[in-house]
C-alpha cells in the first residue's frame, strides 16, 4: 500500500517533469482564421507532443498590440500592420516584424429580396452606389443592367453592415476604396468606418440574421460563413470584367494573380487582375518577430511555419478556407530564414 503510494507520487512527479519540458508558445490576434489555427495547432501538437500553441482570438488590433508589447510570441491579423505600427514595433522590440500569409478569406454580398432567389450579378459601381446610399432602390438600372431576366422590385434597399471592428469590414471597405474614388475620399478603409447608410449587425451571424428578417436588405458576410450557413450570395464583376462566383479556387487565384508580391507580403489582394480572380478577397497573416530569444521557441516557430506551408495547406479546404497559391508558398518558405 505504502509502496504503491510512493510509486504513484514518483509517477506523478515524473509526469509533471515531462510536462514542464513542454514548450508553450503564446499567440493572439485575428478571429477570422481562428478555426483554422486551432485545427493546425491541435494537429501539430499531436504530431509533436512537446510543442503546445496557445492562441487567443482577441481580434487583429489586440494581436498587433500584444505582439508589439511582447506579451505574446506571435500575433495574427486580418489586415497588414501599417508603417507607424511597424516603426513602433521596431522601437519597442529592437527587431523587425514579419508578415506570413496563412490562408485566404473573402467577403460575399448577400441579400434578401422577396421573389428573387437567383444569384445576382453585382458590378463595382452598383456595390459602391448601394453602400454610399446613392443607389436607393433595387430596380435601379445599375443593378438591373447586369441581371437581365430577374425581376427586381421598386423597393428601398436596406443596407446591413458589421457593427464591430472586423477584418471582414476591412476587406470590404478596402475593395470599395479601390473601385470608387468617392468611397475612398468620403469613407475610406478600416476595420470600422463611418457608414453613410445602413444598420449594424454584430458578427456575421448578426448581419445574416438581420438580412433574413428584413425584406429588401443586403449586406456582406465572410465567404466561409455564407457557405456553411448555405446562404445565396451574389457574383461580383472583377477587374478583368468577368462576373465571378466566390469559391476557394477563385479566391486562391486572386492571391496568385497579384503582380509583384512584395517581400514583406503586406499586400491587399482586393480587385486582383486575374481573369477568374474573385475581387473581394484578403490574406490573413501571422506576425512573427525576426528575433526570438529562446532557441527552443525559435525552432518550434520556424518548424511550425514550414509545416503550415506544406502539410498545413492540405487541411484548409476541409474548413472552407482557400489555400495559398504555390508562388506565395515558395516565397514564404524563403522568408522563414529571416527569423534568427
Amino acid at each position: 500500500m505504502t509502496r504503491n503510494t510512493i510509486g504513484a507520487i514518483i509517477g506523478i512527479a515524473l509526469l509533471a517533469g515531462a510536462a514542464s519540458a513542454q514548450t508553450l508558445i503564446n499567440g493572439a490576434g485575428a478571429t477570422f482564421p481562428y478555426p483554422m489555427y486551432s485545427k493546425w495547432f491541435d494537429s501539430y501538437h499531436k504530431k509533436f507532443p512537446t510543442i503546445q500553441f496557445n492562441y487567443n482570438s482577441i481580434g487583429s488590433g489586440g494581436g498587433i498590440q500584444q505582439v508589439t508589447a511582447g506579451t505574446v510570441d506571435f500575433g495574427a491579423s486580418d489586415g497588414p500592420m501599417n508603417d507607424t505600427q511597424i516603426k513602433d514595433f521596431k522601437d519597442k522590440r529592437g527587431a523587425e516584424i514579419l508578415h506570413f500569409p496563412t490562408v485566404l478569406g473573402a467577403d460575399v454580398p448577400v441579400y434578401n429580396i422577396p421573389g428573387v432567389s437567383s444569384q445576382l450579378n453585382f458590378t463595382p459601381e452598383a456595390l459602391a452606389g448601394i453602400f454610399l446610399g446613392q443607389i436607393k432602390k433595387w430596380n435601379d438600372p445599375a443593378i438591373t443592367g447586369p441581371n437581365p431576366g430577374v425581376k427586381l422590385p421598386a423597393n428601398d434597399i436596406v443596407v446591413v453592415h458589421r457593427s464591430e471592428g472586423s477584418g471582414t469590414t476591412y476587406c470590404w471597405t478596402d475593395y470599395l476604396s479601390k473601385i470608387s474614388k468617392e468611397w475612398e475620399t468620403k469613407v475610406g478603409r478600416g476595420t470600422s468606418v463611418q457608414w453613410p447608410v445602413g444598420l449594424g449587425g454584430k458578427g456575421n451571424e448578426g448581419v445574416s440574421g438581420q438580412i433574413k428578417q428584413q425584406p429588401n436588405s443586403m449586406g456582406y458576410v465572410e465567404l466561409i460563413y455564407a457557405v456553411q450557413s448555405k446562404m445565396t450570395y451574389g457574383k461580383v464583376k472583377n477587374a478583368a470584367g468577368n462576373f465571378v462566383n466566390a469559391t476557394l479556387e477563385s479566391v486562391t487565384e486572386a492571391a496568385g494573380s497579384v503582380k509583384d508580391m512584395p517581400d514583406d507580403f503586406r499586400v491587399s489582394i482586393t480587385n486582383a487582375p486575374g481573369k477568374g480572380a474573385y475581387p473581394v478577397a484578403t490574406f490573413t497573416w501571422l506576425l512573427i518577430p525576426t528575433k526570438i530569444a529562446d532557441p527552443v521557441k525559435k525552432k518550434a516557430i520556424t518548424d511550425f511555419l514550414h509545416w503550415m506551408l506544406t502539410e498545413g495547406q492540405t487541411m484548409t479546404a476541409a474548413l472552407d478556407y482557400a489555400p495559398l497559391p504555390k508562388p506565395v508558398i515558395a516565397k514564404e518558405t524563403k522568408a522563414i530564414a529571416k527569423i534568427n
Binding site: V158, E164, G165, G167, G200, G201, G209
Partner: protein, 308 residues
C-alpha cells in the same frame, strides 16, 4: 488601554478593521477605475477637449470622434426602459407582496428571480429572434395610433431604440420586482393593522401606508435598475441597430455607449481611437453619476416631510 484590549478580545476592533478594509477596497477600486480611464483617454481628451461631448461625428478612419450620438442613445433607451419598467415592476411587486395568495406569490417570485439570472447575451438572442419579429407585427399599429408624433414616425427595420428599450425593460424588471417585494414584505404588520383599524380598505392601507413606508427601498431598486440599463451592453448591441445617428424617432436605429465600446475596442488600433473609446467609458461613468444624482435630488425634493 485596558478597554481597548478588552474590545479587541471581544472582536469589536477586529470586526471594525475588517469591515473598514472591505468598504475601503470598494472605494479604492472605483477611484483606480476612474483614474485609469482618465489616464488612458489622454490622447482623445487632449485632441478634442470638451467638444468630444457634443460632437456628432464618429469616424475611425479619419480619426474624428464625438460622443453625442452614443450619449443620446444611452439616455433614450434607459429612459424608455424606466418609463415602462417602473410602473410595471412596482405594480407587480405590490401584487406579489400584498395582494396575491402566498403560494402564487412565492412561485412567481421564483420565476422572476430566474429571469434575473438569464445572461444578457441570451436575452439579446431572444430579442433578435422573438422580440424583433413580434415588434414588426405590432409596430404598424403603434405607428397608426401615435405616428403623428415625431417619436413614432419614420421607417422601422426591427432593430431600433424602441426595441432596445423593450429589451432593457425586460432586463430591469426582475431587479425592481424582487427588491421592491422584499422591502414591502419587511414593512411591519402594525402599519397595515393600524390602517385597517382606522377604517382603511385593503388597497388604501397598501397604497397610502405600506408603499410610502417602503418608499426608500423601492427607490433603491429603481436606482439599481437604472444603473443596469445604462451599462447594459450585449443585449442592447444586438437589437439597437448600431448606427451612430441622432433621430427623434424611437423606431430609428441608434447606438449606446456600452455597445460601441464592446463593438470597436478589440479592433481599435492607434492611441487616439482607443483613447476615444476609453473616454466614452469615462463619459458613461460620469453620466451614471449625473443621472443618479439628479434622480436622488428629485426623490428628496418630492418626498413629503414625515414619511421616510
Amino acid at each position: 488601554m485596558q478597554a481597548f484590549v478588552k474590545r479587541v478580545r471581544n472582536g469589536d476592533e477586529i470586526a471594525y478593521a475588517i469591515t473598514f478594509l472591505c468598504a475601503f477596497a470598494v472605494i479604492a477600486i472605483t477611484a483606480l477605475l476612474v483614474f485609469e480611464l482618465y489616464r488612458n483617454s489622454e490622447p482623445s481628451r487632449v485632441k478634442f477637449g470638451w467638444s468630444f461631448l457634443w460632437t456628432k461625428t464618429w469616424d475611425p478612419v479619419a480619426g474624428e470622434f464625438g460622443a453625442l450620438p452614443f450619449i443620446y442613445g444611452t439616455v433614450v433607451t434607459s429612459a424608455f426602459a424606466m418609463i415602462l419598467g417602473i410602473p410595471l415592476g412596482v405594480g407587480a411587486a405590490i401584487f406579489l407582496a400584498e395582494l396575491a395568495p402566498p403560494r402564487i406569490s412565492s412561485g412567481l417570485t421564483f420565476l422572476i428571480e430566474l429571469l434575473a439570472a438569464v445572461p444578457s447575451v441570451i436575452i439579446g438572442v431572444l430579442g433578435v429572434f422573438i422580440l424583433l419579429p413580434f415588434l414588426r407585427i405590432v409596430q404598424p399599429y403603434i405607428q397608426g395610433a401615435l405616428g403623428w408624433t415625431p417619436l413614432f414616425a419614420g421607417p422601422f427595420y426591427g432593430v431600433s431604440l424602441f426595441s432596445a428599450g423593450v429589451v432593457l425593460t425586460i432586463m430591469i424588471l426582475p431587479f425592481i420586482i424582487s427588491i421592491s417585494r422584499e422591502v414591502l414584505l419587511s414593512v411591519p404588520n402594525d402599519q397595515r393593522e393600524g390602517a385597517l383599524a382606522l377604517g382603511a380598505t385593503r388597497w388604501e392601507s397598501t397604497w397610502d401606508v405600506v408603499v410610502p413606508f417602503a418608499r426608500k427601498g423601492i427607490v433603491g431598486s429603481i436606482f439599481l435598475a437604472l444603473a443596469r440599463s445604462l451599462g447594459e451592453t450585449m443585449a442592447v448591441t444586438m437589437v439597437v441597430g448600431n448606427d451612430p445617428k441622432i433621430s427623434a424617432s424611437l423606431f430609428a436605429p441608434g447606438y449606446s455607449i456600452a455597445a460601441v465600446i464592446a463593438n470597436e475596442f478589440t479592433e481599435a488600433t492607434g492611441d487616439l481611437y482607443q483613447g476615444a473609446l476609453i473616454e466614452l467609458g469615462l463619459v458613461l461613468f460620469a453620466l451614471t453619476i449625473v443621472i443618479n444624482g439628479a434622480a436622488r435630488i428629485l426623490v428628496a425634493s418630492t418626498t413629503k416631510r414625515g414619511t421616510s
